[in-house]
């Protein structure tokens, strides 16, 4: 059930790997020479299969968002590389769509035009069909002519998901997409994302600070350590979907992940913390992570 990632890159690569992260290191050079550079990622090696849903969790500032940004082509790694279908990622690509926590839906376009933004079909009729299909998939039928400012945060995040899917990508990068939403909306969107993924089978790399979210969504959960971070553990979640978080296996995996993450917190090395308390703490830290990661 629990696999330890091999840190050496020369190992054989699975032929079906869609995304391969190899010997990745990332250091943010400080613009101010008196301050030290920030080492964020150390020796990250990870393979993601075609159609796999992988969540990345870790403590604040661990660089999980940075890893996603490198895979998305927005940041350049200091050394090592991310390959998607054996091609080194150097720039953003419309086959690999990034979904942002701060919501990248264009406020000057209505829902329909947002969803249609990245559609690659040539005829108007086809475009319209694709847009309608994905607007319906995220449950926004009837809101086509509505502008984002008239929608709730959850609905705007749905628009962004629909816009990403309408571009018919084969990889989705989701950077704490539900981080800014209230708890109930987050629960609902998790369920919806699970359903959509089961239908579409895109390869998904999903960064979150919420361990419950990771266990509920992912085929495998990548647990990262404190900065400069390495991959501490990769946990396979082999529980059929839709998943009930009270399922004993889910609880066991969640506690295990907390344990792995807890190793970084002084004095709590072996103690598995209460889930509620841990989640609250993670949430406040999560916001700091994002600011730090985007600099």
């Amino acid at each position: 059930m629990i696999m330890q990632m091999n840190p050496h890159s020369t190992e054989t690569r699975s032929p079906r790997a869609k995304i391969a992260v190899r010997d990745l290191w990332m250091t943010f050079k400080s613009p101010d020479k008196t301050k030290p550079d920030v080492h964020v990622l150390e020796d990250i090696n990870l393979e993601i299969l075609d159609g796999e849903f992988v969540c990345i969790v870790g403590p604040s500032g661990c660089g999980k968002s940075t890893l996603l940004n490198i895979a998305g082509g927005f940041f350049q790694a200091t050394s090592g590389a991310v390959r998607i279908e054996d091609k080194v990622v150097t720039a953003p690509d419309s086959r690999h769509i990034f979904i942002f926590q701060e919501n990248g839906v264009f406020p000057w376009l209505n829902v329909e035009d947002n969803v249609g933004f990245g559609v690659k079909r040539s005829t108007m009729a086809e475009r319209k069909k694709v847009v309608e299909h994905y607007v319906e998939m995220v449950g926004l039928t009837g809101f086509g002519k509505t502008y984002p400012r008239e929608l709730s945060g959850g609905m705007r995040q749905r628009v962004e998901i629909a816009r990403a899917l309408a571009a018919e990508p084969d990889v989705l990068f989701m950077d704490e997409p539900f981080g800014a939403l209230d708890y109930l909306t987050r629960l609902r969107l998790r369920a919806e994302v699970t359903q959509i993924w089961q239908r579409e089978r895109k390869t998904v790399m999903f960064v979150t600070h919420d361990v419950d979210e990771a266990v509920q969504l992912a085929d495998r959960v990548v647990v990262m350590g404190k900065r400069p971070s390495r991959i501490r553990d990769i946990v396979a979640v082999e529980v059929p979907r839709p998943r009930d978080l009270d399922d004993p296996e889910c609880r066991r995996l969640r506690d295990h992940i907390f344990g792995v993450m807890g190793l970084d917190h002084s004095g709590r090395a072996t103690e598995i913390r209460g889930v509620g308390a841990a989640e609250e703490e993670d949430e406040t830290e999560g916001k700091v992570v994002n600011l730090a990661d985007r600099r």
Binding site: W108, G118, A167
Partner: protein
């Protein structure tokens, strides 16, 4: 409905009170030169009958429209480029910041020297007066665009000119529109000053001519009232544009 009625009736009540105060102030002081509201109305009618009021309004509006539109066509692209390309901004921004605080009025002698007493001088002055607020607004608008929109667009494979058209311009539009509104107000102020000196027609000319040729203060005030009313109308038009869905998202009102 009630709120709408109030928003109409309250300003009308203030206007009525103002006109009444004006009327009695002139009566009580026994002024021979300063006109009563009624005299201004008859003065306005006189201008209509002589056929000059409409002609002067058109002349002023034509100058404002020409100078202002020129400024829009130069200022928006210039500001967008300055906002987008750091080098371009570094090179041009100091020059703009030096020219900007010079009142357009200060340019009047230079404008007359260059263009003589013709339509070109006031148009040039209006162009100058509108150019800086528009350029600075467009530049700031681009600099304030949220990075996430640019990143999302790039992710969908949008770049170059298409990025400008599909993302940079629409994202900057609300703030540009605020600059356009500001510039139109300034342009309308400047046309009056320019017409007092540089030409022989227009509302500014009407005012200075009425004063110089016989101290006709009823016509002076009539000209002032026209300027105020047209200014109100111009502002109303721009405010209507601010309610469009394309820009409403970025305006706090």
């Amino acid at each position: 409905m009630r709120a709408r009625l109030e928003s109409l009736l309250l300003p009308l009540a203030v206007a009525f009170g103002f006109v009444a105060c004006w009327h009695f102030a002139v009566k009580w002081t026994g002024s021979d030169i300063f006109p009563t509201p009624r005299q201004v109305l008859t003065g306005t009618w006189e201008l209509v009958e002589k056929g000059v009021l409409f002609k002067y309004i058109v002349a002023s509006l034509f100058r404002v429209a020409t100078g202002y539109l020129l400024a829009v066509f130069v200022g928006i692209p210039l500001g967008l480029l300055m906002g987008w390309f750091t080098r371009f901004r570094m090179a041009l921004n100091p020059a703009i910041q030096v020219l900007r605080p010079i009142s357009p009025i200060a340019w009047i002698p230079v404008a007359i020297l260059w263009f003589g007493v013709s339509d070109v001088a006031p148009i040039f002055l209006i162009f100058l007066a509108s150019l800086f607020p528009i350029t600075v607004a467009a530049m700031a608008a681009v600099q304030n665009i949220q990075l996430v929109y640019i990143r999302a667009a790039r992710n969908f494979g949008i770049g170059g000119l298409e990025l400008f058209k599909k993302v940079v311009l629409p994202a900057a539009l609300p703030q540009i529109l605020t600059g356009l509104r500001l510039a139109l107000g300034v342009a309308w102020l400047v046309v009056v000053a320019a017409e007092m000196i540089a030409v022989n027609s227009g509302l500014g000319y009407l005012i200075i001519d009425a004063r110089n040729a016989g101290k006709r203060y009823d016509l002076v005030v009539a000209g002032m009232a026209m300027i105020g009313l047209i200014g109100l109308g111009l502002d109303f038009l721009v405010r209507r544009m601010e309610t469009l869905d394309e820009v409403r998202w970025g305006l706090s009102r």
